[in-house]
Symmetry: C2
Subunit: 329 residues, 2 copies
C-alpha cells in the first residue's frame, strides 16, 4: 500500500452559511466530518484561515499529524477559474477576485484543488453515491435553484469559462415565461426548483375552482411551499398532481434534450425536491422516454442522489485525489 | 523529426454513395485526396477490400511504399461501438453487426480507429477548420438531416452507447410537431435541416396571402427547396425572411440550451444550409444571445464550417494520430 493510499484527503464544501468539511480515505470513506460557520465579514477574507485552523483542530482531536493529510479538494459557489482556483466572484461569500487556491495552500501547506459546488456534488455521487462510478453522468440538483454537473468520459465538464453544467438556465418556456434570477425568463429553474414548484402551485390554486387540499392550505396560510405540494400529492390531491405533472414535463424535456446530446448512463436527481422520490421520478421518466431517442432512453437510468449533504465533501476528496495521482504518477 | 511525424495518416469518410479518402500529414495537410463509389452490394461486405485496394493504388500512383502510412482513421454512419470499431447497424451501407475496424485492419495491415461521421467532421473542423483548435466546441451540421459533434476538454463525446451528439433529435416543438425520421415528433431536424426549411416554406406559402417570390416559385414548380428559400431571401423576400426567422429561433434556443450546459468556445455551423452564411448566422446569434446566459454567450463564437467535404477525412486523420500517439508514447 503506497503512502498516498493510506493518507486522508480533505473535502471542503463552502456554502453561504456553513462550511462542510471531512477527512476522507482514498476509497471515499468518511473518517470524520464536521462543519463550521461561514464568516463572510470583511469580504470573506477570514475563511481560508478558519478552514486551516479547523483542520488542525480536528487533527488534534483525532490525535493525528498533519502528514496524514494528502491534499484538499474544495467546492465553492460563484464564478471560478478552475485551473488556478481563482474566484472571480462569489456573491454569497463576499469574494471578488479572490485567489482561493493560493491562499488556502499558504494557510494549510497542502495542495488545493478548487471546483464549483455543483460539480463536486456530481463527482461525489459518481464516486460513492447513486452514480455507481458511471463515466457518463448527468447530475441535476433541484433545490432553491436548479444546478447541474456533467461528467463525460469520467471528467467533469467546465467549458470555455467554467460555466458548463448550468442546467437550471436552460430555457423551458420561450415566450411569456416567469422571470429568473439570472435576468432571463422561462428558465428551468423557474419551474423545477422548490421555489418554482411553489410558484406553479400558487398559480394553480388561483385559477382552479375545484376543491383541493392545496387550495385549503393556501387559504389557511396565504402561501404555498414545494413541501405542501408533495404532502398534498401523497394524499392523492388532484391539483398537486397537476402541478407536479407540469414540473415533470418541462424537466423531462430538458433532461431528454441534454441526453440526446450527451447520452448519459446515469441521471442523478438530487436536492431537496428529489426527496419526493418516485412521485417525481415516475412522471419524469415517462416524459423523458417520450422526448429522448429510444437508444438514448434505453441506456439511461434515473436515480435519486444518495449522499445528501455529504456529496460535496466526498466529491472534493475525489477531486483532490485525481489531481494528486495525475500529477505524481 | 520522428518517424511518425514524417508518415502520413489515411482519413476515410464513408457515405451512402461515395467513400472520401485522403493521405494527410501529421500537421493535417492533405497530400492527396480522392473518392471511390460505395459498393453496398451483398450487405456492404466489399467495402473494406475496396478501401484497401484503393489505398494501395494511390500509393503506387504517388510512388510511395505502404510503410509511409502510419494509421487509418475512419468515419462511418450508423450505430458504432467506438472502442472496438464494431458497427451494430448502418442502414444506408447495409451493415449489420459488422466488425469494421477488425476487417479493415486485416485488409490493410494498418491500425484503424473508427468513429461516427458527424464526430470526425467536428474533429476536422477543430483541428484545421473553423474550430481553430478550441478544446470546447459544438459542431452542428445542417444538411438533409441535422447532425452534431461535441468536443469537450479536447475530446469528442461518445456517451454511454455512442449516441452523444444527436443534436438533431432535440425536441424543439413539444406538442404537435412534425414527424421525424427517428419516430419522434417536433425534432430540431424537422425545422433546421434543408428538408425542414423546405417544409416550413411550403407551409408558409400555403397560409400566406401576401404576394412573394417564394409563393411565385411554389406556384411555378409545385414544390420548394431550402435553396429556393435562400435565393428568395437574398432578393429580400418577406416570406422567406419569416421562414428563416422561424428556423433561426428554434435553432437558437436549442444551441443556447446546449451551450448553457456545455459552455463551448466555438459553435461551428456546417452542412449545406450553412452556405446561407450571415443570412442564417445573424438571426441565429440574436436568438442565441436571448436564450443563453450572458457569461455563456460572451464566451461563445459562431463560425461557419470552412472545410466543407474535407472535414471528415481530416478529422479521420486526427483521430488516427491521437490514437497512435496515445498508444505509443
Amino acid at each position: 500500500m503506497s503512502t498516498t493510499t493510506k493518507k486522508w484527503y480533505v473535502g471542503v464544501d463552502l456554502g453561504g452559511t456553513t462550511i462542510k468539511m471531512a477527512f476522507i480515505t482514498s476509497y471515499g470513506e468518511i473518517v470524520s466530518k464536521w462543519e463550521i460557520p461561514t464568516n463572510t465579514e470583511d469580504g470573506g477574507i477570514h475563511i481560508t484561515m478558519d478552514i486551516a485552523k479547523s483542520i488542525d483542530h480536528k487533527l488534534n482531536e483525532l490525535n493525528q499529524e498533519k502528514e496524514h493529510l494528502a491534499a484538499i479538494g474544495m467546492g465553492a459557489p460563484g464564478f471560478i477559474e478552475m485551473e488556478t482556483g481563482f474566484i472571480y466572484q462569489a456573491v454569497n461569500i463576499g469574494w471578488k477576485d479572490f485567489p482561493l487556491k493560493d491562499r488556502l495552500e499558504v494557510e494549510t501547506g497542502l495542495p488545493v484543488t478548487v471546483d464549483n459546488d455543483a460539480n463536486i456534488a456530481a463527482l461525489g455521487e459518481m464516486w460513492r453515491g447513486a452514480g455507481d462510478g458511471a463515466k457518463n453522468l448527468l447530475c441535476v440538483t433541484l433545490g432553491t435553484g436548479v444546478g447541474g454537473g456533467i461528467i463525460a468520459n469520467g471528467q467533469i465538464l467546465h467549458g470555455a469559462s467554467g460555466m458548463a453544467g448550468e442546467i437550471g438556465h436552460i430555457t423551458s418556456v420561450t415566450k411569456g415565461g416567469a422571470p429568473c434570477n439570472c435576468g432571463k425568463t422561462g428558465c428551468l429553474e423557474t419551474i423545477a426548483s422548490a421555489t418554482g414548484i411553489a410558484r406553479l402551485a400558487t398559480e394553480a390554486v388561483a385559477v382552479s375552482n375545484e376543491p383541493s387540499l392545496l387550495k385549503e392550505q393556501f387559504d389557511t396560510l396565504g402561501s404555498l411551499t414545494s413541501k405542501d405540494v408533495f404532502e398534498a400529492l401523497a394524499k392523492g390531491d388532484h391539483l398537486a398532481e397537476q402541478v407536479l405533472d407540469e414540473t415533470a414535463s418541462y424537466l423531462g424535456v430538458a433532461i431528454a434534450n441534454l441526453s440526446n446530446a450527451l447520452n448519459p448512463e446515469k441521471i442523478v436527481i438530487g436536492g431537496g425536491v428529489s426527496k419526493a422520490g418516485d412521485a417525481l421520478l415516475e412522471p419524469l421518466r415517462t416524459y423523458f422516454n417520450q422526448y429522448a431517442l429510444e437508444r438514448v432512453a434505453s441506456s439511461a437510468e434515473f436515480k435519486i442522489a444518495t449522499l445528501g449533504n455529504d456529496a460535496g465533501v466526498i466529491g472534493g476528496a475525489w477531486l483532490a485525489k485525481q489531481k494528486l495521482t495525475k500529477t505524481h504518477y
